[in-house]
């Protein structure tokens, strides 16, 4: 099992950041790597087990299933059903924790998956930097 964990501090209250990211269909609104997204079968985006189907800027298609969503914990867990990445049993968690001193948020994005060992380092970098960190950078900029 390979694990990627990226975390950051965003200069806005957790509720605000959560309102931006809780929409499971909303990646194109804030994530620079995602261009278009829809929820399959016209399900609501906050219905557990709904599937988002989105395209990356490089054209790659990804389908992900919502496994857990908690407005109370500011947490969203999802798995990859289909992707060009070459990962198996991929489960990721995007989670926010309020920082009580100052109006800031601790944001944590982690994933566990299996992959072929020769691709492992490349995937850690791709998922950690190009997906998770790029997302945080966009949020940091938005809430500067």
């Amino acid at each position: 099992m390979t694990r990627v964990n990226v975390s950051s501090v965003i200069n806005a209250p957790a509720v605000k950041v959560w309102n931006q990211i809780r929409n499971f269909n909303g990646l194109p609104e804030w994530h620079p790597a995602v261009v278009e997204s829809f929820i399959e079968g016209d399900n609501p985006a906050d219905q557990i087990s709904c599937i988002r189907n989105f395209r990356l800027v490089d054209g790659g298609l990804i389908r992900e299933r919502l496994l857990a969503l908690s407005d109370y914990d500011f947490s969203c867990i999802y798995s990859i059903l289909e992707s060009p990445l070459g990962v198996h049993n991929y489960v990721a968690n995007l989670k926010l924790i309020p920082i009580t001193d100052g109006e800031r948020t601790f944001a944590e994005w982690s994933a566990e998956f299996e992959c072929s060992s020769d691709q492992e380092m490349d995937l850690i970098k791709k998922i950690g930097q190009d997906v998770f960190q790029a997302g945080f950078n966009a949020l940091k900029k938005r809430f500067q």
Partner: protein, 487 residues
């Protein structure tokens, strides 16, 4: 059930923060609400089940037991097992998480407990503010002053950084722990100044910090409290220094052993033309010490006879010269004929060698049995009792260092046999404001200008030979001041 949750960001790597927090007993070292804490029954302070027993500053006694600790999850839990404050079933958790993109630490501190009815708000406020929030604040202060190495490597250096050479102390121990490395000196903030340093003072306090005897630095870190150089840039709020001007300082926080230094400008003083940088690095800390000892700790009069230990040393030579200028009679106590000659050359009226004959007997002979009025003693353990015996009635013993070790516990009532006064001045308290430093340096610079005080530089070393400078000072193989020169 009440629950309290507080969190913060510490701008330091998680490993460093956890290394400090995981010691269950050491929380008193950074938390101002806790007086000294002890682990009961010889257990280890990271041992599950161990009990820490401490007093809050208000006097309340609390015993807490370590329930769990995980170095993998950076987490520890503890419970209150006995307390003068009515907290029941109190279980607290300290949890750290890494902030990976900045190499910082997210720290959450939370607890659940029961209180007497109606006390919920009062007690949860107390825990949140007086324990958690105050703890965060003090931890940050302590950490920042104890960890002065810019963590940023050259890979992620920031705009305005300036690469320079520095001496890093990797861990407490022998002089060999000091190592020359490249670091980045950050651009000054509004009230800071950045100096290109050419001379760095080596003081005995540096040795205490290197060995860990003084808790002023958590390695890895940079030692040193004193240096001189040229202002290369300054913050917008700094008005008493100009870019291009020569300046010097002798103040905490540690961090002087570097070729470029960025620090708060408040205690940095401009240097007059007649004091070169090497003299300033040799004179400032020791000279300001001598000035406040003779003027603020004791107001020396011409009629008084004084005893100075180590009169050939850095502070000793300046004390002798200033005391002679005041008109006092000066006796020096030293360890060798060579050092005795130096003491005479800087104005000592008499020099005694306690290794040849009892210090007290010699002082009594020289003073016709009266004893001396004031003693300046930085030797500590080995000299303290002799010092007390050599004082005249109503005399003043000024203990300002412990080169031979801590003086330990002493009985105050025994002082009544001679109505002695003892002072234990701390450099920082006499030199911690711009006004104090300005007053002391004005007097010191004037004394240097009028040649009342001649600053002798006993040893000069290239900065790369700092280990040798420490070894020599520790072995008492030096005279006057030791200075590191930046090439």
């Amino acid at each position: 059930m009440v629950s309290v949750n507080r969190s913060t960001i510490i701008e330091a790597p998680i490993k460093n923060v956890w290394d400090i927090l995981r010691d269950f007993n050491d929380h008193y070292k950074w938390h101002p609400s806790i007086e000294k804490s002890e682990i009961e029954k010889d257990k280890g302070s990271t041992q599950i089940g161990s009990v820490r027993n401490f007093n809050l500053i208000g006097g309340e006694r609390i015993r807490e037991q370590l329930l769990s600790m995980s170095d993998i999850d950076y987490c520890l839990r503890y419970t209150v097992i006995q307390s003068d404050i009515s907290l029941k079933n109190y279980i607290a958790e300290i949890q750290l998480k890494p902030v990976t993109d900045e190499d910082w630490t997210f720290w959450s501190w939370n607890s659940e407990f029961e209180t007497p009815k109606g006390k919920e708000n009062e007690l949860s406020e107390l825990v949140a503010k007086e324990i958690y929030e105050l703890g965060f604040e003090s931890f940050k202060k302590k950490y920042n002053s104890n960890n002065n190495v810019p963590i940023r490597s050259n890979l992620n250096s920031r705009e305005g950084d300036l690469e320079c050479s520095a001496i890093i102390l990797n861990q407490f121990g022998a002089p060999e722990q000091l190592q020359l490395v490249k670091i980045n000196s950050p651009a000054p903030t509004a009230n800071q100044v950045r100096l290109r340093q050419t001379a760095i003072g080596v003081n005995f306090i540096d040795i205490y910090c290197r060995t860990g005897y003084f808790n002023l630095l958590t390695p890895p870190g940079i030692l040193g409290m004193e240096a001189a150089g040229v202002v290369i840039d300054k913050g917008a709020d700094v008005t008493h220094l100009e870019v291009g001007q020569r300046a010097a300082y002798a103040c905490p926080p540690l961090g002087a052993y570097t070729t470029v230094r960025t620090l708060d400008a408040e205690l940095v003083v401009p240097l007059p033309d007649y004091i070169d940088n090497i003299t300033a690095a040799a004179a400032l800390l020791k000279g300001m010490t001598a000035e406040f000892l003779l003027n603020d700790v004791h107001s020396l009069k011409a009629s008084e006879t004084i005893l100075i230990y180590a009169p050939a040393g850095g502070v000793g030579q300046i004390l002798c010269q200033l005391a002679k200028d005041i008109g006092a009679t000066v006796i020096g106590a030293t360890s060798s004929r060579e050092k005795a000659d130096i003491a005479i050359s800087v104005g000592a009226d008499h020099v005694i060698l306690p290794s040849e004959k009892s210090l007290v007997d010699q002082v009594m002979e020289l003073t016709n049995g009266a004893g001396v009025n004031v003693i300046f003693d930085a030797v500590g353990k080995d000299s303290f009792s002799h010092s007390l015996a050599a004082l005249s009635p109503c005399g003043h013993l000024i203990s300002f260092g412990q080169a031979s070790g801590d003086i330990g516990d002493r009985d105050i009532s025994s002082l009544s046999s001679s109505s002695a006064t003892i002072s234990r001045p701390n450099y920082v308290h006499y030199t911690n404001t711009k006004e104090k430093v300005s007053k002391l340096t004005k007097r010191l610079f004037e004394a240097i200008k009028r040649k009342i005080v001649k600053i002798n530089i006993g040893q000069k070393y290239p900065i790369s030979e700092v280990a040798r400078a420490h070894s020599n000072l520790e072995a008492r193989n030096t005279t006057a001041s030791s200075v590191l020169i930046c090439e």
